[in-house]
Symmetry: C2
């Protein structure tokens, strides 16, 4: 097992009607900016419920809607201006990963003068913590189970064609309210995306090489098995509470740090997928479903031990040679994605050889020339992976 | 899945040589009271290492040794007096569960005037939070993997023949340093105790009835499987780093809250075991190994679904009738305990029928007349469980 640091102070309130506890979680008389996305929280009534609880707590409430999927720096800066002008004390993100990620950026940008006037620099630190010493505190009300942003310190913000990571322990939400019922009204495709997103978040921390992280491996496999068990059910029957509750909690635990602490991590599937989203507008999760099987086909030797472990423990595959077991595990994974309506080929998204070259150029531009847990996925290997996914 | 609240802000530093980071974790120039137990940390050099790091951080350091197993109120009050007289800013527990638990009590008792002069009242709140608003901050350096106290807000303190729970979110350690190498010098019996303690901590949160906590079940099973895989190895070969690292991390995660959030919990094995320790001085873990198999033999109907799940997923038992599978799982569990030198009968500890009656009287005295996840284990059923364990 590798040395590790695990720290996660987010207070999770999980289950039915937890929204009512909001009034105990935000400081009395705070000036709160509620942030949200394209308006689904207006249509489904969640925004109004939040406002009703905050009004009872005598909070002054402002709103900032319109945070788009893959939240844009320019959009978020409008909220930063409001937070500064209005002296907002607390940010409450009501939505999914993009709203939460965007709100984390707002918290950092408006929470100190360190980068005032040059906030784009906040996007320049990659996976190192942004060097600020204060941030506006934030909480979340989660309406889309997928990114795990509700219980971690990371965000991804878009600027032009770049998707850029933002990390800071100051952006751990103070609390996150996870009521599975608030997610019942989601479109099926977004739920399916959430299943795949969660599945691949776990894989990025698991499908590497054995490192004696037995708790971590078992927990990772437990989330994968759970998603296989409840994935189709929660897409097909959105009001099945227990199935949805399991998806919601797995989406959070997949990326709260507990699976990846002390073991190698890969994330090359995400890096290649980010370019697909930036260039072709393909949903994040749908890019992961395309890249993952191709990644494994190309990297079967480097990932052999863990692919066999995955075949055995997640899919109960015991017959055949090692190669046959690995093939069967890849096929099972693809079938699982297909079963919830998620496609697994580049051609399904109208991306051809010329599109692959644009993706490779994007990786090169962003310095993604040595990906993987071994740092050995060159641009040529990325190209081979993408061609395998055609 | 049940509604739940999960909050755990302890900063974990895990791995080799993490002690060197201590200087970044304690406020500059703090006055630190190091607490420890019977002196093994003097013999194995850990105390000196801690003092060397703190000296480099210009901390003023005081020491309080002699916290006994099942830490006593009277002993801990001596440390409370020192903290008050010397205006100590920070408590650093160096040891195992008893030292950490005792230090949590010291932190609460000395951290406010709420119970000054009547500190025994701190032991009267059971599993409800002690009603204080401040505590002395504490950190831990763990030398014995077992209780999980390093990453939770609970403690058990003894007063006379009573073992009493103490709970407060103010007693989450600010940090815990978990270096598996610091545990290499432990006696085999203490390591074996740690394996069983961890195993049964998980069981108390798992062996109940199905409640659609799939992540929780899989994570619980993952810890149990890991302990089965590495338990004997880490007892027999104490310097095998990876085996010990897996025990250390499982001991922590077993009781950090992640396994039990949103699912029913039992804890009757612990309640019965506590009486055995208080009356007969049997090691905590050794009481659990005696009560667990007898508990399951008596409660096989109430726990049938989970016993079958345990048989299948932890022990791969697929042959036979349901009853045969359950019997096989109980026998496998006993064999596992025996394999690391832990006995499973009351008679192994020279406790007979008259001893059982004393245990029953203890349970009655402490109000433990309706135990289990269903609240239906009466004193008569506890007696039946103990007779089954003779």
């Amino acid at each position: 097992m590798f040395n590790f640091n695990y720290y996660n102070p987010t207070n999770i309130l999980f289950g039915k009607r937890q929204l009512s506890k909001l009034k105990n979680l935000i400081p009395d008389d705070a000036k709160v900016l509620i942030t949200y996305g394209g308006g689904s929280v207006i249509k489904n009534g969640v925004l109004q419920k939040v406002k009703t609880v905050l009004a009872a707590a005598s909070c002054e409430v402002l709103e900032f809607g319109g945070i788009e999927p893959n939240p844009k720096f320019e959009t978020l800066m409008k909220a930063v201006d409001i937070v500064r002008a209005e002296n907002v004390d607390f940010l409450l993100a009501v939505g999914g990963g993009s709203v939460m990620d965007g709100t984390k950026f707002i918290a950092l940008a408006a929470g100190s003068d360190t980068f005032k006037g040059e906030e784009e620099k906040i996007l320049s630190f990659g996976f190192a913590p942004v060097p600020v010493t204060s941030a506006i505190p934030l909480g979340t009300v989660v309406t889309l189970p997928a990114t795990g942003s509700e219980m971690n310190m990371g965000a991804v913000v878009s600027r032009g064609e770049d998707k850029l990571p933002v990390m800071s322990p100051l952006t751990f939400p103070k609390f996150s309210i996870l009521d599975p019922e608030l997610t019942f009204s989601l479109p099926k495709t977004q739920v399916a995306n959430g299943v795949v997103d969660t599945f691949v978040h776990v894989l990025e921390q698991y499908m590497t090489y054995p490192a004696e992280g037995r708790f971590q491996d078992r927990t990772a496999e437990g989330i994968l098995q759970t998603l296989v068990e409840i994935g189709k059910k929660t897409v097909d029957d959105p009001t099945d509470y227990d199935a949805r509750a399991n998806l919601v909690w797995c989406a959070t635990t997949a990326l709260c740090g507990i699976v990846g602490a002390g073991v190698p991590q890969d994330w090359s599937t995400h890096m290649i997928g980010h370019e697909m989203t930036a260039l072709f507008g393909v949903d994040h999760a749908k890019t992961l479903a395309v890249v993952t099987p191709a990644m494994w086909r190309v990297r079967r030797e480097q990932k052999k031990d863990k692919l066999l472990q995955y075949a055995d423990r997640v899919w109960n595959i015991s017959d055949g040679s090692d190669d046959e077991k690995i093939d069967a595990a890849i096929e099972k994974t693809e079938e699982f994605f297909h079963s919830i309506g998620i496609k697994t080929r580049l051609s399904d998204h109208n991306i051809d050889e010329s599109g692959i070259e644009r993706i490779i150029q994007g990786l090169e531009k962003h310095g993604m020339t040595k990906l993987s847990e071994h740092g050995d996925i060159t641009l040529d290997i990325s190209r081979e992976i993408l061609r395998t996914a055609l």
